[in-house]
Symmetry: C2
Subunit: 205 residues, 2 copies
Amino acid sequence: MPKPTFFNLPADKREHIFNCALREFAEHPYEQASLTEIVNAAGIAKGSMYQYFADKKDLYKYVVQTVYQHKRSFLQPVWDKAGEIEFFELLSLYYRRSWRFARQFPYEHRVTVNFWDSRDEAVRAEILREREIRNVEFSGLLEHGSRAGVIAAEVDQEAAWFVYHAVGRALIDNFLEQDVSAEEHEVFIDSVLAILEWGLRSRKG
Amino acid sequence: MPKPTFFNLPADKREHIFNCALREFAEHPYEQASLTEIVNAAGIAKGSMYQYFADKKDLYKYVVQTVYQHKRSFLQPVWDKAGEIEFFELLSLYYRRSWRFARQFPYEHRVTVNFWDSRDEAVRAEILREREIRNVEFSGLLEHGSRAGVIAAEVDQEAAWFVYHAVGRALIDNFLEQDVSAEEHEVFIDSVLAILEWGLRSRKG
DNA sequence: GACAAATGTGACCACCCAGTCACACAGGAG
DNA sequence: CTCCTGTGTGACTGGGTGGTCACATTTGTC
């Protein structure tokens, strides 16, 4: 939570500072991100930063929070369709759109990746909170598929969640560095999801 | 590659220094690991360390290399059975044994985790080499299963490798912190693998 | 013993860091 | 013009870092 002074700033200056911080926290994990680097890039004095935020961790939390707010609103259209389409189709949409987010906002994306890897104790509390949110989102999806009868009754739901979580993370994280085209990767996403679908789908046919 | 002086050391001292370094690199990623901390823990002078290793990166590479050598030899018994048992059974063995390694040698395990996450440019070259080794190991397994006809022809092999890699990593990483019993987790490993098996197994039946 | 080669040492260097604080500057109110 | 409050500033502090080097100590050899 920034100090009031930060919100009194003219919008463009405020955004500029935010973007500089975003970039630094994208390029380095929290512990290695340099506040000095941020204020230099932003062209403001070190002391000014401490008028806006209590300390480095305060700034970091604000950035992470804002990024996740953005990401959730970006994914909202997918959830809106949850009632209309089938479970596995929804999953494909979900991962494709996550991938688009990562492509379109690479700094935001890298911040979330660094965030999950963080070892800082104070930061881990936030991590657990986020994980819980993801968990709830996904459990909802699974139950939805389960009720609709498209998921085999014999699969362990916890294991299913686990598989999707692990694979989903890897699907998004590992491909930003490489220069793979967006369409090409969406095809790959679908062949990966096809394997999982075969593993989960009801085995009556 | 340590300097010759390091290997001239009495074995116990050499191992003690190695263990202190191992521990530090387990508890912190490379960039944050402190050489000062290592020499203090080992009870030797800073200068002595520079008689054994060229610099911090040299020490780190040696630790990582040794750890991977250990891990590979630990997993060897699994590969030795490759000819005797079925593909999916072999996979189960593989992940169970990886899990045992992580349980039995938590420091070694954490070093490998930190290693994969490292962003250091010079270190990344080593990472790619290791990834290539894993890739080759696994492709061999897959082909073996493919020849034996237990894997569906229509699955994308690259996608299959990707799924197992992602899930395998998560299966081990996410459960070390929690105090889950070894046996309990091995059951969970198998229910996860069951999903993947359904996704891959030949669909003739 | 004497000499040399190999090892061990820790104060020291240059550098980077998060965070502070005494001060300068703005602008609105009276 | 004078307060006063809210902002902006950057030199400075104390602490940490990887790496160095002139010197001390141990070891092996004759």
